[in-house]
Symmetry: C2
Amino acid sequence: MRRYLPILDWGRSYNRASLTSDLIAAVIVTIMLIPQSLAYALLAGLPPEAGIYASIAPILLYAVFGTSRALAVGPVAVVSLMTAAAVGEVAAEGTAGYASAALTLAALSGGILMLLGLLRLGFIANFLSHPVISGFITASGLLIATSQLKHILGIDAGGRTLPEMLAGLWRHLGETNPVTLVIGICATAFLFWARRRLRPALARLGTPPVLADVLTKAGPVAAVVVTTLAVRLFDLDARGVAVVGVVPQSLPPFTLPGLSPELIGRLALPALLISIIGFVESISVAQTLAAKRRQRIDPDQELIGLGAANLGAAFTGGYPVTGGFARSVVNFDAGAETPAAGAFTAIGLAIAAVALTPLLHDLPTATLAATIIVAVLGLVDLSILKKTWAYSRADFTAVSATIAVTLLVGVEAGVASGVGLSVLMHLYKASRPHVAEVGLVPGTQHFRNINRHDVVTSERLLTLRVDESLFFVNARVLEDLIQRRVTEGCAITDVVLMCSAVNAVDYSALESLEAINQRLRDMGVGLHLSEVKGPVMDRLAATALIRELNGRVFLSQYDAWAALSKNRAAQA
Amino acid sequence: MRRYLPILDWGRSYNRASLTSDLIAAVIVTIMLIPQSLAYALLAGLPPEAGIYASIAPILLYAVFGTSRALAVGPVAVVSLMTAAAVGEVAAEGTAGYASAALTLAALSGGILMLLGLLRLGFIANFLSHPVISGFITASGLLIATSQLKHILGIDAGGRTLPEMLAGLWRHLGETNPVTLVIGICATAFLFWARRRLRPALARLGTPPVLADVLTKAGPVAAVVVTTLAVRLFDLDARGVAVVGVVPQSLPPFTLPGLSPELIGRLALPALLISIIGFVESISVAQTLAAKRRQRIDPDQELIGLGAANLGAAFTGGYPVTGGFARSVVNFDAGAETPAAGAFTAIGLAIAAVALTPLLHDLPTATLAATIIVAVLGLVDLSILKKTWAYSRADFTAVSATIAVTLLVGVEAGVASGVGLSVLMHLYKASRPHVAEVGLVPGTQHFRNINRHDVVTSERLLTLRVDESLFFVNARVLEDLIQRRVTEGCAITDVVLMCSAVNAVDYSALESLEAINQRLRDMGVGLHLSEVKGPVMDRLAATALIRELNGRVFLSQYDAWAALSKNRAAQA
């Protein structure tokens, strides 16, 4: 029971000190989340209140089911972009069908996460390699920033891929609204400055570090307040500045996601990708924060927690959510000790939804766009290209393909091609296992690569050390290799396979070994195995390979060397 | 030059003894191939002469480009079935479009094989695991045998999947032609008897073994002769017995395969599958036979040889071909020493195509169907289910899925699902690497699994031996594992990763190790590496992991144990 309801764990020892810490963290996070939630809703193509709603029920549900003490769940940039891409395929932005499809997407995503958690299938997130994730997040950051330029310019332009967006911006550039542009540029410049320079500036003025931190985090709020006042005082919406407009003054509504088979069919794959990307983002934040306090995250229970959060979003007018990096770090730094901090944040946002929404009427969308641009440019990290290039060409290929396909074709194609390419390249590498010919290091019982060390060998005895598990993609390679070596080296009478690095032998490899055994027998050559690991030998013991082995199984390579040398001496 | 034209190799030393051996082998193989070629053409849905044409030019071209001395190239059962399935999708059987599409399929298949060979990409054949191939061949054998029952019954029934075929046979069962059925049953019974019992019977009669062998192999020829005579003498075709009919009396014609983009688009994937399945079948026969004479096969050159053979088939009225198991073994057993035996076989078949075809007019298709049924039931090997069940559940799953999908959905879906499943299960296994906690075997410098051996451990020092290369599918698993162990064992001050079985570390795993290092540092725990292999260390040396490692890299695990114990002693 406590495994599925972690709240029973921390709830038991909750005390006044934790309450104080959690309340302080909640106030700070709430202030930060109001503009962020509105902005991400805009990015997802949804009305602004959807962003606030998506931050209330999900946070509460995660507090009950999640295992991280500091994770803050809600709308995040990349998932908002993926939502816009997926929902945009089934409905036009601004229609009732669009908002409803976003609910369906959240419901599907919640169901998928919940199912993966209950079936303990979290490992499928591992199919996303780090280079693919980094490439995808970088490309998404670029796409998101570009998509917001139209709000800064005050023009109407669409497009899902980078070239489409740029072409759209170019076409409509003449329609730029100068007042909107001024607001957008000032807000962006201020936010960049606040992000980089505000804290040191405040420190120089003698502000205590904690306060400086809070003020820095409140930068977006300041931008929101100032630009909203500017619009109201100078009546700028009459001059064409787009504003948020009427936001309903209400608690999150109860909504029912549409679940028609046709809609589910079209949204199932995007929901799966959103679930996995969201899970990966969330779990890495959660683990980093947990480690700082020597706490533990249970990945399968995290799937359940995030699943519950997404189902919560689906039934309360939200859209897909996950654990966000920025908000979780703020929550942690502000001293949140338990998920109760999240619950208090939810209460804060509920109050805001009821009391503050009228004040948001004159908020310019350009300010929200500026918030998004400044936030997502922090995600763009092209250094991953340089790092992977230096470390491994295969990983570099995966990163660059993911970035290119995401920018040029779309987010789903980007993830899919990255995953496909990683798997293919892994199999390609595994299909060329490192096989070293080894010899005895004189005066020891150790065997080393003949090309790297000065070792004793015999022209009658060929010893190969296979540095890879044997399975279908490399089984036949070993057949070719042995056949080539034995036909080249006419004096060879015995082949020893040293299996110290062979962690598994699948059925294909077993059959290949049987074929090798048979062929070597036909050539009058013995096949021996040495240093076979326990679990591998347990399996092989009952097979025809061992029964019909044209040679012996030696515990150590030195035993093999000694016995086969003696053998040869006897023959000679 | 000699690499791409192996004929230059063996042609140089060709002599009278080889000539005699090759001529004898050619006569035997020719006699065997006449009925077999007709039968496989029937299976592929093509006119009978296509089978003979497909055995002439391809054999000659393979003799020039192939590396196997004994491989006999031509139509084979599985490829004929796949041809029927692929071509049946784009044209109706019996039309000119059907025969022309078969040429296109051969041309595409030849082009693909040639390309794979020139680019040295033969490794993609390794993606077909042995269980998938066995399952596919078994299921194909069942499909083929079932597809021939309509000829035995003398009825008209279609269907591509097993249930469709059975339903078709059931529906038309009332139309069975009794005379055809008698011929079919007698031929089938005779062939089964000849296959199993003829050789021992002849041996008892004192026939020399070689002659007994030849007579056994000539069983299908006897069935052809006897049933053809029966039709002619008793005028059975007037009683509804379907016969081969008019076969043009000519050498292989020059044909041009249609290469419209639309046809190529629809046949490209089947051609790829046919190429790979054909290549895998051919190379395993070739390697088995080569080993018997300590000869070598070059897989990349084999691709070129088979590619040339298929291109030859495309331009001479044939259809996709590959190296056949039965015919190659007969060729080898009959004493063929060089590919010249194949060339003589081609001449024999050319003579047959010109001189013998009128004699085939009255050959009942039921006899050909019997030939196919007896041949393919030899391919059906359901024991693979039992063997894989005993050895590995994952391999069993792959076999059974491949068999089920091939029978119930179709040949292409069968291969594709088998390959997909093998890759997924391989990644799943790799995602749960074996990680052993190890301790010191007292009195030695060896470290062993604490669960399997009586070893010395320390509650401050956690040593994990990772028995798998670290890459994206298992990188995060290690993060979880270490975080769990360290949060459980509060006294742990140092973690050592013993990397003796880690053959590679990809970029994802590198980042996971960096995250582990960072998190352990946050918990005040040291991270050390031991026994890192040379090539792995070469890569890691320049990374942030090693620069910022919160601990040391030890050459041996014993060094790590000694140093960290001393450390602890000093602290205490």
